[in-house]
């Protein structure tokens, strides 16, 4: 597995892992920001238009040019400083700019990384290719572009991780199945964990996919333990239930 996490130690001496944002996510966020900049540009243009109609074209044009400057150079700086590391595009994709040590970035960091964005976009042949940015991201283990290297920042993904569901033994072990099973099934700790992970994910899998996964291990287990079941999935379920004592229904257990 490619490691796309960065370990960060907080002042509380707790280390946690951040998932780093990949080039794809960052490109998507950048495109969204580009759209937002375009939208702001339209608003500015409307201001000029309105100012022309009331005879204040000089002021309107001044505001327009100033606004263009702000949009072009300071869009990222202002949003990242105000929203602690996020632009609208990054917020939409749950990305955030933080310092490499996990502490929140501040204005100086955001200023540097955004002023150098143009360099990361080079070489430009009509359109930006992001050649330099992609190259430095490929070399750097923390996927940083040049602007990030100078500013000492990383872009992390804050997408929520979900815990797996509970173990699903469905349908519950029937009386006949219990009678047919050998009295004791011995599974190693590792085997138990593999089956458990499978059962926890069961509800999110299609029946065909579940059977496909189960058939890697089911037949082997059937041969070893003597459990006979219609499907490989059921073999795993029964073996797990017997080994953990979950093959008795709730009423009997009580």
């Amino acid at each position: 597995m490619i490691d796309t996490t960065a370990t960060i130690e907080t002042p509380e001496r707790v280390r946690f892992r951040y998932r780093l944002a990949g080039p794809g996510q960052r490109l998507a966020a950048w495109l969204l920001d580009l759209l937002a900049q375009f939208a702001f540009g339209l608003v500015l243009f409307w201001i000029v238009f309105a100012s022309f109609s009331v005879g204040l074209e000089g002021y309107g044009a001044g505001v327009y040019l100033l606004g263009l400057f702000v949009l072009q150079w300071l869009y990222g700086v202002i949003f990242e400083t105000a929203l602690s590391g996020r632009t609208p595009g990054k917020a939409a994709l749950s990305l955030r700019v933080v310092r490499a040590d996990g502490s929140p970035g501040q204005f100086p960091d955001f200023l540097l990384r955004n002023l150098l964005r143009g360099i990361d976009a080079l070489p430009a042949v009509g359109l930006p290719t992001f050649g330099i940015g992609v190259l430095t991201m490929a070399i750097d283990p923390r996927l940083r572009r040049l602007g990030d290297l100078v500013a000492g920042t990383v872009v992390v993904s804050e997408d929520k991780a979900h815990m797996l569901g509970s173990v699903a033994i469905e349908p519950p072990v029937s009386e006949e199945e219990r009678q047919a099973m050998p009295p004791a099934v011995h599974l190693t700790n590792e085997e138990l964990q593999v089956i458990e992970a499978f059962l926890r994910r069961r509800r999110r899998l299609s029946d065909e996919r579940a059977e496909e996964l189960a058939s890697y291990f089911g037949p082997l287990l059937a041969k070893r333990t003597g459990i006979e079941a219609a499907t490989a999935e059921r073999t795993l379920t029964l073996a797990y239930a017997r080994a953990t004592g979950r093959d008795r229904s709730a009423s009997e257990a009580g």
């Binding site: 960060i8 907080t10 509380e12 707790v14 946690f16 892992r17 951040y18 998932r19 204040l56 074209e57 000089g58 002021y59 044009a61 001044g62 505001v63 327009y64 040019l65 100033l66 263009l68 400057f69 072009q72 150079w73 400083t81 602690s84 590391g85 955030r96 933080v98 996990g102 502490s103 929140p104 501040q106 204005f107 100086p108 955001f110 200023l111 540097l112 002023l115 150098l116 143009g118 360099i119 080079l122 750097d140 290297l149 100078v150 500013a151 000492g152 804050e158 929520k160 991780a161 979900h162 815990m163 797996l164 173990v167 700790n189 138990l192 964990q193 458990e196 992970a197 926890r200 953990t244």
Partner: protein, 321 residues
């Protein structure tokens, strides 16, 4: 790691984690902030415990994520950075940094003013030299611009031009800095190029007898603008230098060492060029007598010079970031 262990770990804590999730979801009032702080600490403890117990991957990852988000929410409250520190960096720390980086500032100034002098003297002596640097239509445009009698603008046009000068000139300076990331080459190019073009403008208009008009127009803002361009170039050279001469550090370490220097220089550059744009927009084309404008311009050079030479000398070091 058996089922019982996992459930024994997760079940009693789950409600607390879900509460933290909810806190992270919305806007917080004061009591909720303190609840967030304690929930964050307890989830950090849960994370450490989950690791030492060897809890399954999904539990650890979930807790990693949850504590990470809580951490960012909690610590992002600290000083947003648009405050007093910024003003202090721009006004006090900037001139100190300029003096500390005097070698780069000197080099950038030479890269700008030598081509400036060559362009100015050459075109003044021989107008045909100007057409080697600038296209003829641009030279003609300049002649009309500084030759006419209607050079005084109304206030509304001033506002427009101030906007234009910010957009154009600050943009030039930022580019001059950023291209320093190409091992300094971009900054060198922009310094030389701008020096040559501006020098040629002066020389050519001097040659055709409009030098006085140009000097009158530019005297007010020249101190701020030319100094700004030179220092943005110096910041770019410093950036490029840190890429080439790492001084025993790693490449990234060398860049990081330069970062605070670059920040102060570029912040000050922005101040210089914003002031320049304001003067250029609202003062330079005003109907004030020529002698007053020259006097004002001279005063600006004294002000900028004094700021860079004496600014921040008495500031306590501890108070600076």
């Amino acid at each position: 790691m058996s089922l019982a262990d996992r459930d024994a770990f997760v079940t009693p804590r789950k409600a607390r984690w879900e509460r933290l999730e909810r806190l992270l979801g919305g806007a917080l009032r004061a009591p909720e902030w303190s609840e967030l702080a304690s929930a964050y600490r307890s989830v950090c403890a849960d994370l450490s415990r989950a690791r030492s117990l060897g809890m399954p991957h999904d539990v650890q990852r979930y807790l990693d994520d949850l504590s990470g988000r809580a951490h960012n929410r909690l610590y992002s409250v600290r000083g947003a950075g648009f405050g007093l520190g910024l003003v202090q960096d721009a006004i006090v720390a900037f001139p100190r940094e300029v003096r500390r980086q005097w070698a780069f500032v000197l080099l950038a100034s030479l890269l700008f003013y030598v081509p400036f002098g060559v362009g100015a003297l050459g075109s003044y002596a021989d107008a045909s030299m100007a057409s080697m640097v600038l296209p003829d239509w641009q030279l003609e445009q300049m002649e009309t611009m500084y030759g006419g009698d209607d050079r005084v603008r109304d206030f509304a046009s001033n506002a427009m031009m101030a906007g234009f000068y910010v957009q154009n000139n600050v943009g030039i300076a930022f580019r001059c800095f950023a291209t320093g990331a190409l091992a300094g080459l971009g900054s060198i190019f922009f310094l030389v190029y701008n020096g040559l073009v501006i020098g040629t403008t002066f020389g050519y208009l001097g040659n055709v007898g409009l030098g006085g008009n140009l000097l009158e127009f530019t005297s007010g803002h020249s101190a701020w603008e030319l100094t700004g361009i030179c220092i943005s170039g110096a910041a770019g050279l410093r950036l490029g230098w840190s890429m080439i001469v790492t001084d025993g550090r790693t490449f990234v370490g060398s860049l990081r060492r330069a970062a605070p220097v670059l920040y102060r220089l570029i912040l000050g550059t922005a101040v210089l060029l914003f002031v320049a744009a304001a003067i250029e927009g609202f003062w330079s084309a005003s109907p004030v007598p020529r002698t007053v404008k020259f006097g004002f311009g001279l005063a600006q050079w004294v002000i900028v010079g004094a700021w860079l030479v004496f600014g921040g000398r008495r500031a306590p070091v501890a108070g600076l970031r």
